[in-house]
Subunit: 388 residues, 2 copies
């Protein structure tokens, strides 16, 4: 008997309340009950996205939201700046190419965060750049890019939008869409939103909608303007993923009950405990700077194959984490702590990592990382009875 | 956000597969599908109980099975020997008194296991004793009684049955009902059977049925003879708890897939790691001998209130364990590891205990108990890939 644990950077664990909500009878998507449900989640998504703009809900995974965020705003031959600091930065480039968008790629070493000055410089150098594509959290390396600083360069510039893949960021750490001036923000359901895969969400600023009016790329399913027209009437252009939206309603209620600041504080606390636990266990973080609070990328120690760590976590302990991608395969493994996670998830992950790494012959003091996480996540006696 | 963890000695965690099975549409209990379901679980229960006798299924909690195991076999004025080494031994005495049964009580100090010789001596001294009532695992103290040895004294004796409360024993450690000669064995659904509370199970030997023929106590709902007549036809005398039986079907399939020896080995491994982890953390076990593999009773350390430990586990960490009962209140706390439990449940429990005890001001080296459990529960690298 092996219990299964999801520590992959998506899909993440789904709370039982949400699974139950998704097991409710299917509502017809043209019935009035659906419009009421859809209206509620649309409002709550604006709260989560910290925006007054529309947040489109799409039956797709995050990549669908990314595709739409290229196809709807740029025309073939137009120019975009793509920050490529990992697998998902690379994906922005591939999508742009598919839609005939000319890409200026700003390569960032994997494990590093983009220098906002480099983005500002690239924009200055080329006035024809119409959009900047970036990750708020690069899932392949566990690094966060400072999208607030990047927005400083795009906000004042007419006709250039900042498009943020916040798929492993939104709901993990603070993303002030309107205050910072993020024009397009994309996320998916199976990360901090604690749902199964199947929904993408995209917030779109007025500046971006104006670009959409002129863009000439083909978009049928991911036609944001058409979706907006339907969604402001609490309908969808095409059949929505109804059960997922019932789950979303429950997720948003849970997040609102906890409060956005409390969610960010919990995610930060768990991420900090994970990173310090990894260090206390004698392992190194892969991120050289700005580690994302969504997941921790850990360097495989000298002489140990990172893929063996990833595989043994699954085979011996029922834990699904993630390995490294491309040239990082075998060099790193990744553990998520975003979404429906608490103290004992971090302790479970650290205990399992210690056991697997030791099992692979690397000298490892069992309990060393766990003890650090316990210390950081401990609730003092003075709080006794206060959190009933 | 506080996740909830069940570490009480019942109810224990229910596997998702079982929750799903219980969510199936309700079958009518007089329909042929029910008879088929009931026939399947009756056969599988014999396998679990290691018996060729009938195993009755009752819509009741374990105490209902205990009541029936007094009322159906003894008449008012008849004599029983009750082994009382804790709260549940005491309960046998209370039930006997309710049904006018004369009780000879064999008191056993809480935390101790009964001396089988003392039982044999008590039986020799009083030939009128018709039944011996005992726990296989005394949940209030975390101690196992050696029911195999006790059966040696009752097996050869005509007209005396051994009645075993195996509520926190069956499915945890080996109980060879027929081979050892246990006449009546009682268990409940919410322990090692990984179901919610609501079902009791009682196996009855031929020797016990013969006593039931002569017994003159009133039993209407818990009338075992009447139930037997129905249940051999895959029916029940009164309305059965249908959804619970759908869950039971899934539980029995899971247990059969794992195998009885593998289940016992897992439970023993987890119990051992828990006990050694507790010791390594500098705490003491309450059981002076024969600790039950179902749960571990831990002595509150010098100067720390056991009830505060129990309470802080719940309030600070979302963990429901159990405190001490009666004179043990404040002196001990109890943590279950029976049923749907694995490596990381033991690690979670130990980590939380360390944090709570330290939080209450007791000197505790965080990670010390966890490290011992990790060491004992580790899967070596040599096994890599072999348990795919």
């Amino acid at each position: 008997m092996l219990k299964r644990y999801l520590f992959a950077p998506g899909p993440t664990p789904v709370p039982p309340e949400v699974l139950l909500a998704m097991a409710k009878p299917v509502i017809h998507h043209r019935a009035p009950e659906f419009a009421q449900l859809f209206g509620e989640v649309r409002e709550d998504l604006k709260w989560l996205f910290q925006t007054r703009n529309d947040v489109l809900i799409l039956a797709a995974s995050g990549t669908g939201g990314m595709e739409g965020s290229v196809a709807n705003f740029l025309s073939p031959g137009e120019r975009a700046l793509v920050v490529n600091g990992g697998k998902f930065g690379e994906r922005w480039g591939k999508i742009c190419k598919t839609f005939g968008v000319q890409v200026t790629e700003l390569k960032v070493e994997w494990g590093q965060s983009v220098d906002p000055q480099a983005v500002a410089d690239a924009l200055k150098k080329d006035p024809s750049i119409k959009a900047v594509y970036v990750q708020a959290s690069e899932t392949s390396t566990g690094v966060a890019h400072d999208v607030k600083r990047l927005a400083e360069a795009t906000k004042a510039r007419e006709g250039t939008i900042l498009v943020v893949d916040a798929i492993t960021a939104l709901g993990v750490f603070d993303i002030k869409t309107d205050v910072w001036g993020l024009d397009v923000v994309v996320t998916g359901s199976q990360k901090a939103l604690m749902l199964p895969p199947g929904l993408a969400f995209v917030s779109v600023s007025e500046k971006a909608w104006q670009m959409a009016d002129k863009a000439k790329n083909g978009a049928f399913y991911f036609n944001f303007k058409k979706e907006r027209e339907s969604q402001i009437k609490n309908q969808t252009a095409y059949t929505p993923a109804v059960s997922m939206i019932l789950g979303l309603q429950e997720v948003l209620r849970m997040l609102k009950a906890e409060g956005l600041d409390a969610v960010f504080a919990r995610q930060a606390r768990l991420a900090h405990a994970m990173r310090e636990g990894v260090r206390a266990a004698g392992l190194s973080l892969f991120a050289k700077q700005s580690p994302s609070d969504a997941l921790t990328a850990i360097a495989a120690p000298e002489g140990v194959d990172g893929q063996a760590i990833y595989k043994n976590l699954r085979v011996h302990y029922g834990i699904t984490a993630a390995g490294g991608q491309d040239h990082l395969k075998g060099k790193i493994f990744r553990v998520s702590h975003m979404g429906y996670m608490d103290t004992f998830d971090v302790i479970t992950a650290l205990a399992a990592i210690e056991m697997v790494v030791k099992g692979l012959g690397y000298p490892m003091k069992l309990g060393s990382g766990v003890a650090k996480a316990q210390e950081l996540l401990m609730v003092g006696a003075e709080a006794s009875g206060s959190r009933r």
